[in-house]
Structure formats: C-alpha cells, structure tokens
Assembly symmetry: C2
Homo-oligomer: 399 residues x 2
C-alpha cells in the first residue's frame, strides 16, 4: 500500500536535508536537530556485576546503560538520553518489524596502557551510518554530535571496558523506523540507540585460520542493491549460505558474484588476496567499492597501511574464483584473509569451490602457522594503533 | 561474528524439520509443536470504539486483540495466545532490530451478505509464510494449525470486520527473531504474531489508474536473492525508488531487471500485461516465478481465472521495456495492471521510461475510464469470490 500524502511529507523532509542520491560524508551532513548538549542522563540505581574477561562471549553481555534518541518527522531529533539498559516497547505494527527499517554500525572502545579510552576511526562509522540510514529513508544526523554522545556514553560505561589487550567494549549504534503503520512508506518516526557489549579477542589462543565454502547457490548483493550499506536486510539472508557451508564441513561462506564467480565478501567481512599477479608482481587485491561491497573501516585501514608501506602493488579490483584457482595451482597465491571490526583479520586456509578444495597458503616458514606473515602484520599493526601503542591519528582519545 | 555451536544447534533443528533447500507446500510442513488446541484466550477488559467505514485509513487502526506464539529452539512452539493488543517488549539486542530476522503475510477476512466470515485462499499464505521463514532460518510451523488459530482470531475480532462490500479486516501474520545476541546466527528465539486492521476499498470512488516511473537506478531483487520471499529486507529498500518516482510526478515505481530492462514488479505488486503478441495473438503476460518474483495470491488467482476463461493465451515469461515500448507504438498494447492483496488490481495508465512517457491504454470505448475491461473483470470476479457472491472453493468459510 502506498500513501501519497505521507510520502510527500517525507520527501519534503528529505529534500530539506539535501539528500541527493549520492553517499555523503560526515562534513556534508546537514540535518539539524541532533544536539549532544541536550543530553539527559539517568543513571541505573544498581549496577550489574562485571563479567570476568575469560568468560566473555561476543555479543551476549550488555552494560548498565543505553543511549537513545527519538526522531519525529515533524519535530526532528528529541533530547538524547543515557538511561538504564532496558527493553524497547514497540507497537506490533511498528515498521521495523515488517519492512526492515533498520541499519547499524559496529565499532569498539579500547583502554590503553594508561587507562585512557580510545576509539578507532569513529568518523568513518558516523558517515557510513548516515549513508545506511539514507538508503532506507531514515533520518540523517550530525555525525559530530552523535560522536560526542558516544564518547559520553563510553565514559559512562568506562568500568565495562576491559583493560587487557585484545579486549574491548563493542558498540552497536542502531537506527530503526518506529511508525505504527502497515504501509510501505518512509517511516515518520525513528529511534536511534547505542548499546555496548564487552568482548574478548576473536582468537583467544592466537589466530585460527578458517575454511570457506564458495557459495554458488545464493547471492549476497547486486549492483544498485544495498550491498554497500549496513542495513539489516543484508544479514538474515546470509544464514542459509552459512548453514550450507557448515553442513559441508566448512566454517564460513565465501560470497561470489556474476558468471565468472567474482569474490565479494567472506561471511560478514571484506575479502583480501595477496598473490603474485600473472606478471609475477606482488599484489594485494580487494574487490572495489562498486556499490555491492561494504566499505569496511578495517578494509580501508589495511589498504591505507599497505599503500604506506609500499611493499606491494595495492589494487581495488575484482578477482574471480577461476583466477584464484589458477594462482593456487601455479604457486602464485601467498595469503588470503577476511577483514572486519570483530576480528581485524581472519586468515583463510582452504576454499571449497565447485567440488574441489583449494589450499590457501598461510606461512611458508611455519607449517603450524594459523596466519600468513602479512595477515599477522596487518592485524598487529592495527591492534597497536587501536590500543595506542603505535601513535596514529586513526586512534581517537576519549577525554 | 559467527558462533559454530549455536549454528550446529540450529542446523540440527533445521535438519530435524527436513528443511531441504527447496520451497515446501502446506502438506509437507512437518515441524511439530504449533498446536491450535493449546490456545489460551485473554479478552481485553474494555473494547475500543469501532471506526466508521468512511474514516478507515489503510493500516492505521488496529483491533482489540492480537494472536501471539513464542518459539524457542530447545522447546519448540509454546501455547498460542489471543490477548489484548499491546506493545511488544524486546531487548535492544534482539536480532530482529539488527539483522532483519522478519517475514510476514498479508491476507484479509471478509463478511458476506449473510454475515458469515470468509478468507481467500489462506492456505497459500500459510505455505508462503513458511517459505519466507525458512529463507531466513526462522522456524517452520504446521500451516493447518496456524490457519485454525487465525480463524479463531478473526472470530474473536468479528465486530471489526466491516460488512460492506469492498471493506475487510486486513490480517498481518508476522514472524520475528528475538534472540538477544549481536552475532549473525540463526535466531534461537522467535515470535509469531498476527494483528488485524479494518480497511476500506483501495479505490473509494472507483478505479484510479496510476502512472509509473520505470526505475533504472535501483534493483529490487536478483537471481538467488530473496525476491520470491516476503521478508522485511525486500521492502525498506524500495522507498527511495518510490520517492524518486514521486519527485518526478509519477505515482509508483516499476521495477526492472537486467540489461534488457525486464519488468519484474510494480511497487509492492505483481505486474500484468495484456497485449497482442508480435504474431497478433491476444496474450496475458506476467513475469515467471524465477526466484525473484513474489508468488502473489492475487497473481495466481488472475492466472487461474484467465486460464479458466480461455479468452487469451496466458504466459508466464519475461517481458522487457523495449518490447512494451514497441507494442505501445504499434498499437498492440491493450492493458497493464498491478495485482496484490491490498488493491486486487491496479490499472496502469502511463510509464515513464528513459525520459519518454508511454501511454498505456485503459478502455478504448470509454475515454474517462480508469481501468481496462479485463482489469475490471479480474477485479470484480475476484471480489465476487472473496465476498461469497460467486461460489468458488477459493473462498473459505470461517465457522
């Protein structure tokens, strides 16, 4: 069902916010209203016991408070609130339950050796969050203001940030459409919330390389779809491919695209290949941001470091499974790995592709290695920056 | 993030339920647990005032009660409940808010001339609902049991079913994943709920033909995606194309696919073309169920009636915009219309395609007509069946 008057209202709002059909960066976000200075804080009357580091399971433990901001089309953003972590009360007709008006971010707060709190390139999350919201006609916000609020929130939850290297406080900014209406229209109500979960290292006992099943039965994203946005709709549809991979003895799925089976992503991570190209030149390759690849913060950081180091050619271009297979057979493959906020890098040891297993090298000098030397170097360098051990402007102090 | 043990649990469950990777029909749904006989009913202590028919707006008014059933991977389906319409209380980490674990159905309950309640082909909704749930790894249920529960629910809400032709009680069965966990895994908790909204005819004062903007900037669905499933993720992403259409003076968007610009759907409806083919034969065409087209109940009903009538060739095949354009220019186009539960048929009068407006004929014998004769005949026949005026086994009495 389509309601023209509601649509006109939403469109007027959209036009006001100068929402062209292009992605925007932090500096061009103009919708007024989200004001960090209007924050109201209500502390929890009692605090939960902390969970010992060794007992942390990703995404299961939540802190004492949450950050929330309500939005109405006719009023804009309300005063932000930090308040006790609590259930959301939503009408069963709220559009988030029916039409997937939802998008999110994943980022982390770290404690450095001096006990200072750090974020990693948070302005990239703010910009991507706005782009995701725009794609599903949810409201825009001033990323600088949300970042101020998130800094305030992580300070409030400071006791939940583990001070051991590898541990951090995972932050989940989320925006949902909350209009109580069964029509497919832009939502005239939204809720932005941030929750936090203390997490341990992805690899508790060092790296653990994964085997991938190259999925030819399902497709994650398509040109002019939503693959470049962190919208909810991209995720549930990945469960069946994941189950198929597991059923066949692999740990994750490798998404492919097109008749030539181009690599796109690894589960919910970006994908990297380090090989000698067909001219024998050392090259780091990752699929280009063509609209179907998520613009990962870790992806961008790896590309940035690789270009800074200048040790190999760095290419954002498509690479196909037949090319991978040829490189493996010719001994030109050096390393492959996934990259994302949760794990930094995830080394790949095997790919099952069309009834054939391709062995991907890890470390040629160590038969027991669970990561290649470059995967490990990217991982360690990024972690050094995140924990403030290696000075870099990607690490942002919260003070 | 990926949790192998949770996945194994979910996969065992999936295997138990004999979930192959194919769609299933009502008769092969085997997951045990959903039992209509276990229903518990709690009536609202006070009832809302009814809304006069002329004041009804689609999807804005909800009845006094809702039907809910909770599911846990370790216990299966709990006892169903009919209880007062109320807000859902969900943890902000519930997977429905992040990863779009959500699917739904749209169906209607009608009151016939004798005051009896009728449903229209509800077994198709049950089967499709299970297929949608399966696509996003939500649990399966026995469609016959849910149908019994829905019949009980519409009887409970009987006073909300308007007794005027064209009016009905819109039913929205919905299933969401409710696990409180920030990992992308099969949800180990789900909630199935049904809410109801009294609605008026789509066209209060007779048909109103619509103009469409043929969208070349966005794609709705693709091979091996989720276009054939009624999952939430298919909907929010359609808002921007809709806004673009409106901005340019059209009422809805027409989804295209592929380099040859094949027609796929009209907004959230299936799409039909009645033309003389290039051999001069009268032909009704709709895109085939290739995995990217929603298998609409109205679509299937129109195809069934057309085949029964035998007045023209009936084809499920792809048709491209260049073919549409040629047919219009050669005077071979007779009618085009969308089809869906909300409107039955929605006649199309114009398509804006690549900076050119194509005029689609309505009724050649009536310059003021807002529907072609065949669109009107499909609409009226289906409505006759829905309201029990034309006996047909598609109409199911609730008694």
């Amino acid at each position: 069902m389509f309601n023209a008057s509601l649509l006109k209202t939403a469109f007027a709002r959209t036009a006001r916010a100068q929402l062209a059909w292009q992605p925007r960066t932090l500096s061009t976000v103009v919708e007024a209203g989200l004001k960090a200075s209007a924050l109201r804080v209500t502390k929890a009357s009692s605090l939960k016991p902390l969970v010992p580091n060794q007992d942390l399971i990703f995404g299961h433990t939540f802190t004492d408070h949450m950050l929330t901001v309500e939005w109405k089309v006719e009023e804009g953003w309300a005063a932000p609130e930090i308040k006790p972590y609590q259930k959301l009360q939503l009408d069963p007709s709220a559009v988030v339950f029916h039409y997937s008006f939802e998008c999110f971010e994943g980022m982390k707060a770290y404690k450095d050796k001096n006990g200072k709190i750090r974020l990693f390139r948070p302005e990239m999350n703010m910009a991507r969050f706005n782009n995701s919201a725009d794609r599903i006609a949810l409201p825009q916000f001033d990323g600088n203001e949300l970042l101020k609020l998130i800094k305030n929130y992580v300070k409030t939850e400071s006791r939940w940030i583990p001070s051991e290297r590898g541990y951090s406080l995972y932050l989940r900014p989320t925006m949902i459409g909350t209009q109580e209406y069964l029509g497919v229209n832009p939502s005239n109500r939204a809720l932005l919330f941030v929750i936090a979960s203390p997490v341990g290292p992805y690899y508790k006992t060092g790296f653990k390389a994964v085997s991938l099943y190259a999925t030819t039965e399902y497709v994650r994203a398509w040109p002019n779809g939503t693959g470049a946005n962190k919208v909810g709709g991209n995720y549930a549809i990945g469960i069946k491919p994941q189950l198929m991979a597991t059923k066949q003895g692999y740990q994750q799925n490798l998404w492919l695209f097109g008749e030539d089976h181009q690599l796109t992503e690894v589960g919910t991570m970006n994908c990297f290949v380090l090989w000698k190209d067909d001219k024998g030149e050392l090259e780091l390759v990752t699929p280009p941001l063509d609209g179907s690849i998520l613009p990962g913060v870790t992806r961008d950081s790896i590309l940035g470091l690789a270009r800074e180091w200048g040790k190999f050619k760095v290419s954002e271009k498509s690479v196909s499974m037949p090319q991978i297979k040829e490189a493996v057979k010719q001994g030109r493959m050096l390393e492959m790995f996934g990259a994302g906020t949760a794990c930094i890098v995830s080394p790949i040891k095997k790919i099952g592709y069309l009834n054939e297993d391709l062995d991907i090298p890890l470390d040629p000098n160590d038969p027991n290695a669970q990561a290649g030397p470059w995967a490990k170097k990217f991982n360690d360098t990024i972690m050094d920056i995140q924990y403030g051990d290696l000075p870099h402007d990607w690490s942002v102090l919260v003070d």
